[in-house]
């Protein structure tokens, strides 16, 4: 089946899958958002325990999605993995560190004799929520704004120089310089506030505690406003800026005015997915705030998946370089700047071989089955809202 497909089809198929995983990840980062609200919403130990346990039943799911997203991206677009991870070293290390400290915190937090006390593990959870969301958002921002790297595969064959590395990153900050571009930061902050919006909605739907629900609603309003401010700024900035286009025939990368806006208009389905997503997010928030609805997490969650999916399809398709090489130190339009841009990654020049994409495409057929068992398993243990009474009878709590 897949072996007869064209290379373009397989590359597109894998970009769609990777984008979908990234979109799911952003939705599931409500766990991270919730961790940053632990002290804001949790007024006493009982409330904090409820919040930690409500999140604790989902954190591994977010974690697994992150790891699977990484693995899938590596396998399908290894040049991205090689260039971005090896170049934007400190950003990825900071993200990694944020997730390492999360991995132990739920299990260790409430256990006696845990060396640092429960507060330290709660700070770990807070840091994971803060850094995880902002840094991942900022890193994805560079998909639209570019990073200063160059790729030259011939370096591998260089036997005399100091380094054989095929990609080089300009400047000593190794990715941290992305925070100097406010468009990137705006996306980082938008993801951060969105994760808190989703967390508030999750608490309203999943925790049976009047005060927590009340505080969550307050946080929902505040964080929705903050999310909208940064999200709209980011959206405006990318729709109005020049984008990184690739000439399909010559493969030359060039700057095209309003590229991302053009992409939406050229791909109405992608635009529809994106708009439907934004409407979904807003509808979930609105219904919860004004109609006493408790199921807003589903609307906003699905909305988040669609909106992020739409954005990533926009930056990957229609002859676009999804990971642009751009050096702000070079004069725009100069031959050096144009030459520099040619290292940009597209889904065509960074993918795995036809054989590998085919083999993995067969494995991807398992995904619906995986989703089905996740759904079934969760339904069977989560059919009631979490309450303090339930936690009292529970063998395994955080």
């Amino acid at each position: 089946m897949f072996e007869n497909m064209s290379m373009e089809f397989l590359q597109g198929y894998w970009w769609i899958l990777v984008s979908l995983l990234a979109a799911l990840l952003v939705f599931l980062m409500f766990v991270q958002g919730g961790q940053t609200l632990l002290y804001t919403i949790g007024k006493n130990e009982e409330q904090k325990k409820l919040i930690v346990n409500a999140l604790g039943r989902k954190w591994e799911f977010t974690f697994t999605t992150l790891v699977t997203f990484g693995g899938a991206f590596f396998a399908s677009f290894p040049l991205f993995y090689s260039t971005s991870f090896g170049g934007a070293y400190w950003v990825w290390m900071a993200i990694l560190f944020a997730f390492v400290i999360q991995a132990v915190s739920y299990e260790f937090r409430s256990k006696p004799n845990n060396l640092f006390g429960h507060k330290t593990y709660e700070i770990f959870l807070f840091l994971n929520g803060l850094l995880g969301t902002i840094l991942i958002g900022t890193a994805v921002g560079t998909f639209f704004t570019g990073s200063a790297f160059s790729v030259n595969k011939m370096n591998l064959l260089n036997l005399v120089g100091e380094s054989n590395a095929i990609s080089q990153w300009e400047g000593p900050a190794h990715g941290l310089e992305a925070v100097l571009n406010f468009t990137n930061v705006a996306l980082g902050l938008a993801v951060f506030f969105l994760s808190r919006v989703l967390a508030s909605l999750y608490f309203i739907n999943n925790i049976d505690h009047e005060e927590i629900v009340k505080s969550s609603k307050k946080q929902l309003l505040i964080n929705s406003v903050a999310f909208l401010v940064f999200f709209l700024y980011f959206l405006g900035a990318i729709l109005l800026k020049d984008g990184f286009a690739v000439n399909p025939a010559s493969k030359v990368i060039y700057l095209e005015p309003y590229k991302y806006l053009t992409n939406f208009l050229a791909m109405p389905i992608v635009l529809a997915i994106f708009l439907l997503g934004v409407v979904g997010v807003l509808a979930g928030i609105g219904l919860t705030l004004f109609k006493e609805c408790t199921k807003g997490i589903w609307l906003s969650g699905i909305g988040t998946v669609l909106a992020v999916f739409g954005l990533l399809l926009n930056v990957g398709f229609n002859n676009t370089a999804y990971y642009p090489a751009y050096n702000t130190a070079l004069a725009p339009g100069s031959p050096e700047a144009i030459q520099f841009m040619q290292s940009s990654l597209t889904i065509q020049n960074s993918s795995s071989s036809h054989y590998t994409l085919t083999a993995m495409s067969y494995v991807s057929l398992l995904i619906p089955f995986v989703l089905a068992y996740i759904w079934y398993a969760w339904k069977s243990i989560n059919n009631e809202k979490l309450s303090s009474k339930e936690l009292e009878n529970e063998h395994h709590t955080y």
Binding site: S352, T356, V363, I381, H395, H396
Partner: protein, 477 residues
């Protein structure tokens, strides 16, 4: 083991078995958290620190990681939730199935990451594409079912089962020593010793086949592991010995003393007592009589391959077809030596001999002692004579740190022994790294070293507390 314990509970309906399962599940949960924290580092590190590697073999190496995520991680993380939180919510059978699926998920995950590791030791099922300057997969099944992968998977997972069994026996022995929770401890030991004994046999047999596989595909590692410098027929195996202290691995390291088993090395490597086992110097400096070309020659040919590829790429750019064809022919003729071109001297290609030699012996000797412990514990269990053996309890408790050391020693043989290769014969460790400052790597290393030392201390303290609390109170609150 958890799944087996719970199966006994479901079949017998004896609440004691439920208590046993739940206690070990708590211990498992504490360890699992650290496992998750270390696992994610590996995935990030391939890109952050080994970016050349990620490109050069990402086409083959990435796939097992992606498959691992889709196939194994979700299974594990979904059903682990049912396992921990589902006791009062789902039926007994569904809970039991979830515990089994968690175990299967964990083992599937081990399968894929070990397939990836085995591929680095014995790269098969791929072809170098000069156009993209990387290796591309040609046969997924060859990668999955290579003998190295099968041995590696079976040897690693079964030795991990041994490790788990020793931990259970050690902790249970502490209860016997303290004369408390006797039934719990005895039953745990019955399961763990049976389980451990069975898998120790498989670990030993796959260890044996791994060694033979190593002699075939990584003969230098094999020679280093044995401190075997000059090749010979009827080669003896040094069961144990001490090497003369010499930090320079290029020079021959003699033995201060050694205990030998005649002909055993020849037999271990090639199943024949008179087989010729080549030594470190045979590879480094060549042995024409045995048809072994020297590393220097391979280095020269490797450099030829690398330079030919560079010329080929340049000629293609300049549309010089005849030069491109000629370079490609030179490249293809020398490709099997490609990775050697990254080295400068034969000595660069010899792994640290002493580390590999001692680690192998630590692994084998302690592995053997654990087998004896399993047999004895199993025997005492079925005869119901476990009580009153204080010295045995101390041995079992002391075995807990030793089994971790043994397991790490095995990994040192596998990973230090294959140096300087990140992918055997194709890419050296040095050529695989990212272009980042040494200081950045040092800072990151210490940051993680400090973090994980702190977490290890926290983990041990938590475990000790849970063990002290014991199964009665059902830890976790």
């Amino acid at each position: 083991m958890l799944a087996i314990m719970e199966t006994i509970y479901v079949r017998t309906n004896d609440p004691e078995w439920k208590r046993i399962t739940k206690f070990w599940m708590t211990i498992f949960g504490i360890n699992f958290a650290i496992g998750v924290a270390t696992g994610i580092i590996l995935e990030f590190e391939f890109g952050t620190n080994w970016s050349n590697y990620s490109w050069f073999v990402g086409d083959i190496f990435g796939a097992p990681l992606a498959v691992e995520g889709i196939m194994a991680f979700f299974m594990e993380s979904t059903f682990i939730a049912v396992m921990f939180f589902g006791w009062n919510k789902v039926s007994k059978r569904f809970h039991l199935m979830s515990t089994w699926l968690t175990a299967i998920g964990a083992n599937l995950s081990a399968l894929w990451i070990l397939v990836a590791n085995a591929w680095m030791q014995n790269p098969v099922g791929m072809k170098f594409n000069p156009e993209t300057a990387r290796n591309e997969m040609q046969n997924f099944w060859e990668v999955l079912f290579s003998p190295t992968a099968i041995n590696k998977f079976l040897h690693t997972v079964t030795s991990s089962y041994m490790l788990a069994a020793i931990v259970v026996i050690g902790i249970s022995s502490w209860y016997l020593l303290k004369n408390r929770d006797i039934l719990f401890a005895k039953r745990s030991i019955v399961v763990a010793s049976t389980f451990g004994l069975l898998f120790a046999i498989i670990t030993i047999s796959t260890g044996d086949s791994s060694a033979r596989e190593m002699a075939r595909v990584q003969p230098m590692k094999f020679a280093a592991m044995e401190n075997h410098y000059h090749g010979k027929s009827f080669a003896p195996l040094v069961a144990f010995g001490a090497l003369t202290p010499d930090p320079d691995t290029t020079k021959k390291q003699n033995f201060v003393f050694k205990i030998e088993i005649p002909n055993m090395l020849s037999y271990m490597a090639f199943l024949s007592p008179n087989a010729y086992v080549p030594g470190i110097y045979d590879f480094a400096y060549g042995n024409p009589e045995k048809g072994i070309i020297s590393y220097q020659e391979r280095i020269d040919k490797g450099k030829q391959a690398i330079n030919a590829l560079a010329t080929y790429k340049q000629a293609k750019k300049e549309n010089n077809d005849s030069l491109a064809l000629a370079s490609l022919t030179t490249f293809e003729a020398n490709y099997q030596h490609f990775g050697y071109g990254f080295a400068n001297a034969p000595e660069d290609l010899i792994p640290p001999v002493a580390t590999t030699f001692y680690s192998f012996r630590v692994m084998v000797i302690f592995g053997g002692l654990f087998l004896v412990l399993f047999i004895y514990m199993f025997y005492l269990s079925i005869k119901n004579r476990l009580e009153g053996k204080k010295w045995l309890y101390y041995v079992a408790i002391a075995s807990i740190p030793l089994v971790y050391i043994t397991s790490q020693a095995g990994w040192i043989v596998a990973e230090v022994g294959r140096q300087p290769w990140v992918i055997q014969n194709l890419m050296t460790t040095k050529a695989a790294v990212s272009h980042i400052e040494t200081s950045s790597v040092i800072i990151t290393f210490w940051l993680f070293a400090i973090t994980f030392t702190a977490l290890l201390i926290a983990e041990i303290r938590i475990m000790l507390k849970q063990i002290k609390k014991g199964p009665k109170t059902e830890g976790g609150h």
